[in-house]
Symmetry: C2
Subunit: 261 residues, 2 copies
């Protein structure tokens, strides 16, 4: 099956996107909610947690691994590939590729958590691909808690999103990367505040395109994938609140199951 | 020395309060920032992390232990006392006592993180002490990230605090418990929004009073305490951002040191 790993449950937006593209494929999600957030941890700790989480998915039958976490994507994807010998899809490169193709003037804005933005990972990958690109990044640490509070329609959320996007508007970006798996939930609001002419690129759509392309070009692997439409959701730490947030992310009823890893 | 433990760095407000009351006493703070937040973790995990954190402080000379974390206070204080045989001060009981003495009509409001509020710990402790007490609790999950963003004076913060306090105003509370170590940083704003007639009780002041009383009545222990005015700050996960937030909490320059536990 397809294994989707995230440090928290934001990665359910990635599951939602993969599920829409591959409705019959078995998908197992694991969110390392007992150890979230990864962004503030050191690289060795992040690698250790990511490998342990991935091992759980592999032991449960994952033949293809998706890392929904931006932090784990930037640090641990090579190691996962080497450790388990599976195709590993991380979210950063496909998102950068999508943004570069979407951007007419290659003026790309990036929003993300403070740790993603201060890592500079999106900017450096964009510059590597296209040194003339103009990039601007803004850390938006309040968006994740606003989403997890379920405050999608509240005026405070709109004000805060507008404030965060202001420096990107000033820089006249033409494309905006949502560099955090929680943000697609607020995509409409973000689109309204950044302006209709700016193209929004999000990680779930980008990585799903990547998987589509990969499976089309590797039919031998595609035929090995279970296609019984079974979806399973595991987390390393479970609270009643987490189940509520999970619905927001994936826009359907899910039952998170607790597993000790 | 006095060892102060918190799951994150909110507990620096407790250090600040203890420092003001005992300027000469050596204080060592340990924030388990690599594993924060505790509120979403299961009790066994919280106990394990708290004991490990406390061991670090004990090995470094702590003769008196303060648990600044609300979650760890409610779950792990007995176990710490039994494990290390030290006087252990948790924040909940002294705060409940302060609130009950401060409250003329015993109409007590409690604000805290979602996990503290849904645990019902403050309400049940208040009711145990005074069954006739009227309590109302409100979860305010956005206050911690707003404080950590440094948005003390922004209109969004005022709006959000006002919204969170609204149900408590309606219930006409006369006393308000700040049941989270981050909240004292916004005490003035909270006082303005809840109204001047409501008495605010915060955990740092309450636990500091408790320690004062204890050391006065146990001079034999008091004389053992180092009083060289040395203050040390350790965290299990360190980022540049964390040092910035630490200044907000304690209102002075601190240098957090990283330690692996």
């Amino acid at each position: 099956m397809i294994g989707v790993f995230d440090s928290g449950i934001g990665g359910l937006t990635v599951v939602k996107s993969i599920m829409a593209a591959f409705p019959d494929y078995d998908i197992t999600f694991f969110g390392d909610t007992a150890r979230t957030p990864y962004g503030i941890k050191n690289p060795e700790t992040i690698i250790e947690h990511t490998v342990n989480s991935a091992r759980f998915l592999v032991n449960n039958g994952a033949r293809l691994m998706v890392i929904a976490s931006n932090t784990a994507s930037s640090i641990a994807s090579e190691i996962l590939h080497k450790t388990f010998g599976l195709p590993v899809f991380e979210v950063i490169n496909p998102t950068v590729e999508s943004a570069i193709s979407a951007s007419p003037g290659v003026r790309i804005g990036i929003i993300g958590t403070r740790s993603t933005v201060s890592s500079g990972i999106y900017e450096s990958r964009i510059k590597t691909r296209l040194p003339t690109a103009v990039t601007t990044a803004a850390a938006c640490p309040l968006i994740v808690p606003l989403v997890e509070e379920g405050w999608f329609k509240r005026p405070e959320t709109a004000m805060i999103v507008k404030k965060y996007l202001h420096p990107l508007k000033v820089r006249q970006i033409d494309t905006l990367i949502l560099g955090c798996s929680h943000y697609p939930v607020l995509k409409e609001l973000i689109q309204r505040k950044i302006g209709r002419r700016v193209r929004i690129v999000d990680t779930p759509a980008a990585v799903t395109e990547n998987i589509k392309f990969f499976l089309r070009s590797h039919p031998e692997l595609d035929t090995q994938m279970l296609k019984t439409g079974t979806h399973q959701y595991y987390v390393s730490g479970l609270t009643p609140q987490l189940n509520r947030i999970a619905q927001f992310m994936i826009n359907r009823y899910v039952e998170l199951r607790h597993v000790k890893i």
